[in-house]
C-alpha cells in the first residue's frame, strides 16, 4: 500500500510541472499585463519602469522557475491587481468554493443514487422512464443557462429565493442545485446501469432464496456491489465540479475561486491564475488518488501492493 502511494505521488510531479508551465506560457502569450494594470495613455517610460519593477522584463523561463521555486515554499507571489499575496487571496475564497462544491455534491449523491437505484429496480416502469428523462435533461442543459433560468423563475417570478450572494442557506440553494443538477443526472445513470448488472447476478438470486427482505437485497447486496463505478464517477466529477464552479459563481455572484480565476485571467494577473491552476491540478490529482484508495475500503477484494 505504502509503495503504491509513493509511486503514485511521484507520478504527480511531472503532471503538475507540465500543467503549470502550460498555463503560464498560454497566459503570457495572450497579452501584456501592463495593459490591464495601467491606463492605455501612460508614458512608455512609466510602463517600462513598471514592467521592470514587476519582473515582466525577464525571460519567460526565468519567471516560471522563479514562480515554481517560491511556490514550493508556499509563496505564490503577489497579485498584480490586488497587491496582496496570491496565496491568501485564493485561500480566502477557497471556503466559499468548497462550500458550494460540497453542497452540490451532497445534493447530487443524495438524489442521484436513490433515483438510479429505483430506476433500475423498476426497470422499464414509470419511475425508470422519469429518471431517464430527467437525466437526459440534466446532462444536456448547460450550467449557465440553467443558472439564469433558475434565477428568473425562483428569484424574479416566484420571489422565494435570492438571486445571488453568499451568507445564508437560501443563497446557497440555487447555486448548489444548479451546479449539482448535471451531476445528479450522471450519477443516476451510472447507478442505474450498474444496479441493472448487479440485480442479474447469482448472489442476488441467492440472497432472495435465503429469504431476505427485498429492501435488504436491493440496498445492501445490489447497491453496495454497484457502488464502485459510481464512486469513480463521483471522485472524478468532483474535480470537474470545479469547472462548473467558474460559471455558477459568476451567475450567482458567489465569492469563490472560480470567479477570482475568471477576473484574474481577464486582467492577466499571473500570480493568482498560476496559484489557482496549480492548486486545482493538485486537488484533481489527489482526488483521483483518494478514489483509488477508497476502492480498497469499499471492496475487500481490491488491495494495493
Amino acid at each position: 500500500m505504502l509503495n503504491y502511494l509513493v509511486r503514485r505521488l511521484l507520478v504527480t510531479v511531472p503532471v503538475l510541472l507540465g500543467i503549470s508551465f502550460f498555463s503560464f506560457a498560454l497566459l503570457y502569450l495572450s497579452g501584456d499585463p501592463t495593459d490591464f494594470l495601467l491606463p492605455v495613455n501612460v508614458p512608455e517610460a512609466t510602463r517600462e519602469a513598471f514592467r521592470v519593477a514587476q519582473g515582466f522584463d525577464q525571460p519567460l523561463l526565468v519567471q516560471f522557475v522563479n514562480f515554481l521555486g517560491r511556490a514550493l515554499t508556499g509563496d505564490f507571489g503577489t497579485s498584480l491587481r490586488f497587491q496582496q499575496s496570491a496565496g491568501s487571496l485564493v485561500w480566502e475564497r477557497l471556503g466559499a468554493t468548497g462550500e458550494l462544491a460540497l453542497a452540490a455534491m451532497v445534493f447530487a449523491v443524495v438524489v442521484g443514487i436513490p433515483a438510479g437505484a429505483v430506476a433500475a429496480y423498476r426497470f422499464g416502469g414509470f419511475a425508470d422512464r422519469a429518471v431517464r428523462a430527467v437525466s437526459l435533461l440534466g446532462q444536456a442543459i448547460p450550467n449557465f443557462y440553467l443558472g439564469v433560468m433558475a434565477v428568473i423563475v425562483f428569484a424574479v417570478w416566484l420571489r422565494v429565493l435570492p438571486s445571488g450572494g453568499r451568507g445564508t442557506l437560501e443563497q446557497l440553494l440555487l447555486p448548489a442545485l444548479t451546479l449539482g443538477f448535471g451531476l445528479v443526472a450522471l450519477i443516476a445513470r451510472v447507478t442505474r446501469s450498474c444496479m441493472l448488472d448487479a440485480l442479474k447476478q447469482d448472489y442476488i438470486r441467492t440472497a432472495r432464496a435465503k429469504g431476505l427482505t427485498e429492501g435488504l437485497v436491493v440496498w445492501k447486496h445490489a447497491l453496495r456491489n454497484a457502488f464502485i463505478p459510481v464512486l469513480t464517477v463521483i471522485g472524478l466529477q468532483f474535480g470537474l465540479l470545479l469547472n462548473g464552479v467558474f460559471v455558477t459563481e459568476i451567475v450567482f455572484s458567489w465569492p469563490g475561486v472560480g470567479r477570482l480565476a475568471i477576473q484574474s485571467i481577464y486582467s492577466r494577473d499571473f500570480p493568482v491564475v498560476q496559484t489557482i491552476v496549480f492548486l486545482s491540478a493538485v486537488t484533481f490529482v489527489f482526488l483521483n488518488l483518494l478514489v483509488d484508495l477508497l476502492y480498497a475500503v469499499l471492496d475487500p477484494r481490491i488491495s494495493y501492493r
Binding site: S30, G31, D32, D35, F36, L38, P39, V40, N41, V42, P43, E44, T46, A49, F50, R81, F82, Q83, Q84, E92, R93, G95, A96, G98, E99, L102, A103, V106, V110, V148, V151, I152, A155, V156, R159, P162, S163, G164, G165, R166, G167, L169, L172, W219, K220, L223, R224, F227, I250, F252, S253, P255, G256, R259, L260, I262, Q263, Y266, R268, L298
Partner: protein, 509 residues
C-alpha cells in the same frame, strides 16, 4: 455502506455549519442601507492607487478629493479645498477648508496636502496618474491651510487635475504604507470602512464626525461585486440592490417598464470611432484621403445607435469632442450617410470595384462591440469595401492598439480624461497609437496644452478638430452610453461619464 451514509451525513452537517457561520449580523435596518452592485470588487480603496471607477466609487466615499465636477451642472465644486486661484500660468494656489479632520483625528491641513501631492507625483506609487502629474514641478506650503503647486509649463487642465487628488492622512500613511492603506483607508469622507470581505462586499458606515452634509437617510453603504450583467439587473428588480451599475442595453426595455425603478442613461466619455490610418507604414487604399472620406460616408451611425443602443447613445458631430467640452465646434458636421457619394469617391480614387481589407475589432472589450462592428462591415460591403473581420480578445486588442498594429482599419472606444488636451494629444505625431502624422496638428496640440486663456484655447481646439475632420484619419461615430438602474427611493444620484458615482447630494427615502 453504513460508513458511507455516515460520511454523507457528516458532510451535510459540515456544509450547513459553514453556511450558517457566514451569516452576517445586521445592525443597520435595510431601509437605511444603500446597496450598490458594481461589476467588480475593488482592488484598492486608495483612490490614487488606480483609475478604475469600480475602485474609485467606494474609495471616494471614504477618502475625499480637493474638488469634484458636479455632473448636473458640469461645474467645478469644492470638497476639501475652499478655493483655487491661478497666481501665474505656472503657479496654482489651493486654499483648504479649515474645519476638517480625518476620521482617525489627524488634521487635514497644508501638511497633509503637501504629503498627498508628494505621493501623487511619485510615478512608482501612482503610475496611473502620471499623465496628470507630468507638468508638476514642485509644491510649496504657504500657510497652515494653503499650498502652491508650481508647474514646469502653463497647465490649463489644472482644475481637472485637482479633482483627481485625494487627500490622505500623513501619519497614518507613514505608519501603514501604501499597500495596507489601500486595504484599510482612513479619510475625511462621509463614510468609514467597516469591513471588506473580498469579492463579496465592502461595508461602510456613516462617519459621525463628518464635516459636511452627509447623504440623507443612508446609515450604511454596501458595495457588492456582481460580475454577471443579468444578475445585476435581476437583483435590482428583486430589490436586493438599490443601484445597479453598467447594465447591458439588453436589460433596458425590461427595466424601463418597472414602476419602482428608475433607469438612467449617461453619455460616457468614451468616444467610439473608426481608425482610418494614414501612416505610411499602413500601405493600402486608406492612404488616399478620398477613400477615408468614402468610409465616413458609408457608415450609418444613426442606424447603429437606434438599433443597438435603443437610440440612447449620442452621435458625434464629425469631431471627437463632445458638445459640453471646451473646443467643440458647432460648425463641423459629420459626413452624412451617403452610400452613393461613398461609391463615387471610391471610383475617383481608382477603386471602382472596391477592395478587400482586414478590419480589426475588439471582442468583448466594449458593450456590443462585435455587433457594432458587424453592422459596420455590412455597411462597408454595401459600397464595395469587403472588410474581413479579425476579432481580437480585449488584451490582444489593447496591445495592438499601443503598437499601432490595429491599422489601417479598426474600431476603438477611447476614454481619456475629460479635457480636450487629453483627447487631442492622442493624435500627436509621436504618440504611440496615433494614426496621423501632421506637423500642423502637432503645433496646435502643443499650443493648446499651454494656453491659459479659455477663449483662445477653445479656438485652438476648434482648429485642430477641423483639421482632423478634413484629413479624416478617424471617423468619429458615437459616444458610449452607460445604463444604470436605481430604486425609486434613491434620489439625487447622477453618475458621470467616467462611471463615477459621487454621493454628494444623494439621499435615500
Amino acid at each position: 455502506m453504513r460508513r458511507l451514509v455516515g460520511l454523507i451525513g457528516s458532510v451535510i452537517v459540515a456544509t450547513l455549519v459553514v453556511a450558517q457561520g457566514a451569516v452576517d449580523a445586521q445592525t443597520v435596518p435595510r431601509n437605511r442601507t444603500l446597496i450598490i452592485a458594481q461589476n467588480f470588487d475593488p482592488q484598492s480603496l486608495w483612490p490614487n492607487g488606480t483609475t478604475a471607477s469600480t475602485n474609485l466609487n467606494p474609495a471616494a466615499a471614504i477618502v475625499e478629493p480637493l474638488f469634484w465636477i458636479d455632473p448636473r451642472t458640469n461645474k467645478l465644486e469644492p470638497v476639501l479645498a475652499a478655493s483655487f486661484t491661478m497666481q501665474s500660468p505656472t503657479a496654482y494656489r489651493v486654499d483648504l477648508r479649515r474645519d476638517v479632520k480625518f476620521s482617525n483625528g489627524e488634521a487635514m491641513n497644508a501638511d497633509a496636502l503637501v504629503h498627498t501631492l508628494k505621493v501623487f507625483v511619485d510615478a512608482a506609487l501612482t503610475p496611473a496618474y502620471t499623465i496628470y502629474s507630468a507638468p508638476f514641478d514642485r509644491v510649496e506650503k504657504v500657510g497652515d491651510f494653503s499650498v502652491v503647486i508650481h508647474t514646469k509649463t502653463p497647465y490649463p487642465a489644472m482644475a481637472l487635475v485637482l479633482t483627481q487628488i485625494y487627500v490622505i492622512p500623513p501619519a497614518y500613511w507613514a505608519r501603514v504604507g501604501p499597500a495596507q492603506y489601500a486595504q484599510q483607508p482612513i479619510g475625511t469622507g462621509p463614510y468609514r470602512l467597516v469591513e471588506w470581505v473580498k469579492d463579496d462586499r465592502v461595508v461602510m458606515d456613516r462617519n459621525p464626525a463628518y464635516w459636511g452634509a452627509a447623504p440623507r437617510g443612508i446609515e450604511r453603504i454596501i458595495w457588492k461585486p456582481v460580475p454577471d450583467d443579468t444578475a445585476r439587473a435581476v437583483g435590482l428588480e428583486t430589490g436586493e440592490y438599490d443601484v445597479a451599475a453598467s447594465l447591458s442595453a439588453g436589460a433596458v426595455p425590461r427595466l424601463q417598464s418597472q414602476r419602482n425603478l428608475q433607469l438612467i442613461s449617461v453619455d460616457s466619455y468614451r468616444v467610439f470611432n473608426m481608425i482610418l490610418s494614414m501612416l505610411p507604414k499602413h500601405q493600402g487604399p486608406l492612404l488616399d484621403k478620398r477613400v477615408r472620406i468614402a468610409i465616413n460616408h458609408a457608415i450609418n451611425s444613426e442606424a447603429i445607435v437606434k438599433n443597438l443602443f435603443f437610440g440612447k447613445a449620442q452621435l458625434l458631430q464629425g469631431q471627437l469632442l463632445r458638445k459640453q467640452q471646451l473646443g467643440f465646434d458647432p460648425e463641423i458636421k459629420a459626413y452624412p450617410y451617403d452610400p452613393n457619394r461613398a461609391r463615387a469617391l471610391l471610383r475617383e480614387a481608382g477603386y471602382p470595384n472596391g477592395f478587400d481589407i482586414d478590419f480589426k475589432i475588439p471582442s468583448g472589450r466594449y458593450a456590443q462591440d462585435r455587433e457594432v462592428c458587424e453592422a459596420i462591415a455590412g455597411m462597408l460591403a454595401a459600397v464595395g469595401i469587403r472588410a474581413k473581420i479579425v476579432a481580437l480578445e480585449g488584451g490582444e486588442f489593447l496591445r495592438q492598439l499601443r503598437t499601432q498594429e490595429l491599422g489601417p482599419l479598426s474600431f476603438v472606444g477611447l476614454a481619456p480624461p475629460d479635457d480636450p488636451h487629453f483627447q487631442m494629444s492622442q493624435y500627436r505625431s509621436d504618440w504611440r497609437y496615433t494614426f496621423i502624422q501632421n506637423a500642423q496638428l502637432d503645433a496646435l496640440i502643443d499650443a493648446g496644452v499651454k494656453e491659459t486663456d479659455v477663449a483662445k484655447r477653445g479656438a485652438i481646439y476648434r482648429q485642430a478638430s477641423r483639421l482632423l475632420n478634413a484629413e479624416a484619419p478617424v471617423a468619429p461615430l458615437f459616444l458610449g452610453v452607460d445604463f444604470y438602474g436605481m430604486s425609486s427611493r434613491v434620489k439625487g444620484l447622477l453618475p458621470t461619464g467616467d462611471q463615477r458615482l459621487f454621493l454628494y447630494g444623494v439621499s435615500l427615502e
